[in-house]
């Protein structure tokens, strides 16, 4: 149990927690735009932390394993997936929000008394 294992476990568990929280948010939040917020959490924070946890595992194998092992290639692939997810999922969320707005989905806003509209 060395440093990389501990870091990897912490990141994986945190990422799993954020993914679950975002999933519950997507299911339970009241209107579409707040659900988009829940989806954004799972897409960036959850995915990023889980991928970083896996990166720590691969780096550990790369540092301790035999020189011919493919651990550094695995690390590069993980970082590529992380990069693509970080570029594409906010873009997808943005496109989704714009499409919903231009299609006439009304955001749920609070009225002056602080009571939300039904």
């Amino acid at each position: 149990m060395d440093l990389f294992d501990v870091l990897s476990m912490v990141f994986l568990i945190l990422g799993a927690c954020f993914a679950l929280i975002g999933g519950i948010g997507v299911l339970r939040l009241p209107d579409f735009f707040s659900r988009l917020h829940g989806g954004g959490i799972t897409d960036t924070l959850g995915a990023g932390l889980i991928m970083l946890g896996l990166v720590f595992q691969a780096v550990k194998v790369g540092l301790t394993g035999e020189p011919e092992s493919s651990a550094w290639l695995v690390t590069a692939k993980l970082l590529m997936i992380l990069f693509f997810l970080f570029i594409t999922s906010p873009t997808g969320c943005h496109a989704l929000a714009r499409a919903a707005l231009s299609d006439g989905v009304e955001p749920l806003v609070a009225e002056d008394e602080g009571v939300s509209r039904a």
Binding site: M9, A19, L20, I24, T42, A47, L85, T88, A99
Partner: protein
């Protein structure tokens, strides 16, 4: 380490289930697309975690492919819900 990966996998599967519930409930079509987007991202994570659990990191190639295809798919479905077809701009003007 295997246990932590298994816990992560169960959490990802639970999130995929929640996304499926939202996709089947979701009042507007955009809720369904959002759930689909989440499902695709979680597929990428699930493939990666299973690859590490079974000590076969070659699965990462599949995950990379899914990460790229998911984005294209979401944009294509959004475009389809807006315009009703997949044609490009000139074809649109011709059809309108």
């Amino acid at each position: 380490m295997f246990n932590v990966l298994a816990i992560t996998m169960v959490a990802i599967l639970a999130t995929m289930g929640l996304a499926l519930v939202r996709a089947s409930l979701g009042p507007t079509v955009f809720d369904r697309i959002l759930a689909l987007n989440m499902f695709g991202t979680k597929t990428v994570l699930l493939i990666s975690v299973i690859g590490f659990m079974t000590k076969r990191p070659d699965f990462l190639d599949l995950a990379l492919l899914y990460a790229l295809m998911n984005f294209i798919g979401i944009v294509a479905v959004l475009r389809f819900t807006k315009y009703g077809h997949f044609a490009d701009d000139q074809a649109e003007e011709g059809m309108v």
